[in-house]
Symmetry: C2
């Protein structure tokens, strides 16, 4: 399992960027303290996405922040990203691992205890559990699970894989991030709370402060 | 350059299959004489596409007909397809070659003499030139080039790469395939003329007869 710092997982999606330049956005969130960046583009043409991911990778390298690509193993390979995040309908993690190799970071979305029971734990490095809260960033088929739902799903996963890092995802912001960490998350995945913030770097700094504070409290 | 038999390049697309089972459709066109099959799915989820491509590959193997995937190098790698066909907005052929290796088949869509001048001939095994005729299979931004346009673009390509196989694409059927071959094509790419035919295997046999006859006549 490749070690991954999940504390502040910033998801960058051109469809949820308020018209901002996504490369500049990636730089800002990394400068503010994002520990992992995931690029998600469900609509673009492959060639343009590869170029975008290359440009984002270049700005993240000085920060030593890994870059994952949502779903697209081909884009990750072509652009030299650090791995992928796959959903339940994306490429199977076992296939992604075979194509990306042992040192790549592979994350998996998990939305229920059944998916936690079935998760290919030998092929993944972390889990994104949600949707924790309601969100406007993505059409979500299921009602929010809340931080209690996160804890319930994480418990199933950790019974199978005690050291598996897990972050909460969906609708997480500075007001509710602490509750997610308090319920056992190693971090939070954030989209609009950073991408649509007036100052994404400042928003990242504030979130990191809350997350690190709550992790320290939990650890104490 | 990997050798490729372009005579009858059947493109299978769930969006242009009239509700037919695409695996069965692939089997039928191969039984009827398709020399190359390309699977194109611009809408499906990655996991489902990988499974479809695996199933199609399994039915094509006994016919010794190679299977290409449109655009998606990740799907081709995961499913063990023989290569990819890329458009001008898809992954760059040089990147696809690096990921797929020397023995994969890589085809490129070319729609103008400028694209023929710029084509990465060292990275591709064949060209699909079009759109030759009007078609309902795909939204096309440019007017049809006709068989004369095919000949004009192929001449530019072959000045740079004399042995590069090229097929015509778009709106090609049993009525007009002969004209495309007469203008120098090594074969034709066909979608609805096979996929929407009452009997796709019979339609493939008829097309192969026309193509082989015209190639023999041209060679004589």
């Amino acid at each position: 399992m490749t070690s991954v710092d999940l504390r502040l997982n910033a998801i960058i999606d051109p469809a949820v960027a308020g018209g901002r330049d996504i490369v500049d956005l990636a730089r800002c969130v990394a400068a503010g303290g994002a520990t992992l960046v995931q690029f998600r583009d469900k609509r673009g043409e492959t060639r343009a996405i590869v170029e975008e991911v290359r440009a984002i990778k270049a700005v993240l390298t000085p920060f030593n922040v890994p870059l994952l690509v949502n779903d697209r193993v081909d884009v990750a390979l072509a652009a030299g990203a650090d791995g992928v995040h796959v959903g339940q309908a994306d490429m199977a993690a076992i296939d992604a691992r075979r194509l990306l190799g042992a040192t790549a970071i592979i994350g998996l979305s998990i939305s229920s205890t059944a998916e936690a029971e079935a998760a290919p734990i030998e092929s993944i490095d972390y889990a994104g559990i949600g949707n924790v809260y309601a969100t406007a960033s993505k059409q979500l088929p299921n009602p929010p699970i809340g931080p209690e739902g996160f804890a319930r799903i994480a418990a199933v996963l950790r019974r199978r894989a005690p050291a598996m890092p897990a972050c909460g995802i969906a609708g997480i912001n500075a007001d509710n991030a602490g509750a997610v960490i308090a319920h056992g998350a190693d971090g939070v995945a954030v989209i609009s709370a950073l991408s649509l913030a007036p100052d994404p770097a400042a928003a990242a700094r504030i979130l990191r402060g809350i997350i690190d504070g709550m992790l320290a409290k939990r650890g104490a």
